[in-house]
Symmetry: C2
């Protein structure tokens, strides 16, 4: 297993994602970093963070990719099988960690990964 190093880019990107209440896209991260590093580096750091399970990748309903922090509350088991809500108005993507959908696939389908996104209007925007 290859080792990993702590760099300022990685630290700052992880901090950004962790402190955000909503999932962030590559470009949003780039804007917030204000030239700290190259955009290619951001892609590579994000890949590493996902690989290390510090962050999870969310594919939005429009195909856009965002990143959200992993909340490793529970000790051992940790799943990303929760619903993500995408607001059509403020364009934020929120992890709804407590909402786990139930479904039953026909047998012989081996499930490995899951991506559930619901779009509409978020509580903030419905007022």
């Amino acid at each position: 297993m290859k080792q990993t190093r702590n760099t300022t880019a990685k630290t700052e990107i992880l901090k950004l994602i962790s402190q955000s209440t909503v999932a962030l896209s590559h470009s949003e991260i780039q804007n917030n970093l204000d030239g700290l590093c190259d955009r290619v580096t951001i892609y590579r750091v994000l890949d590493r963070l996902v690989e290390e399970d510090l962050v999870h990748k969310v594919v939005n309903i429009d195909g856009g990719v965002k990143y959200a922090s992993c909340n490793h509350k529970e000790a051992v088991h940790h799943s990303h099988n929760h619903i993500h809500f995408s607001c059509e108005e403020c364009h934020t993507v929120t992890c709804l960690e407590d909402v786990k959908p139930s479904f039953e696939l026909p047998k012989r389908y081996q499930v490995k990964e899951v991506n559930f996104t619901v779009s509409g209007i978020c509580p903030e925007c419905s007022s």
Copy 2:
């Protein structure tokens, strides 16, 4: 309301999608059309087909976009809120029209659209 016209491009693209058992991407469609029309036209036809609810758009777990035919079995009501299965091996995306997941969002979230994708190994590939 604007009207729509039947063109060979539209006819051929709809035929391709309808005859396929799996969802097709823009590039797969382009390859199958063998130069019948420009790639921009394919994008525009696909938009129209989705608009007319003849086809539905599926965002895959990897962010790739595919198109699948709408099976308007039921008379009036017709929803796209079914699960899509994405095979990691053969890279096909299949509509599982009969599998409708159940979930309960916190109140005040107004749901408008849904995209549920599960990836893993499909029955064909698990042998």
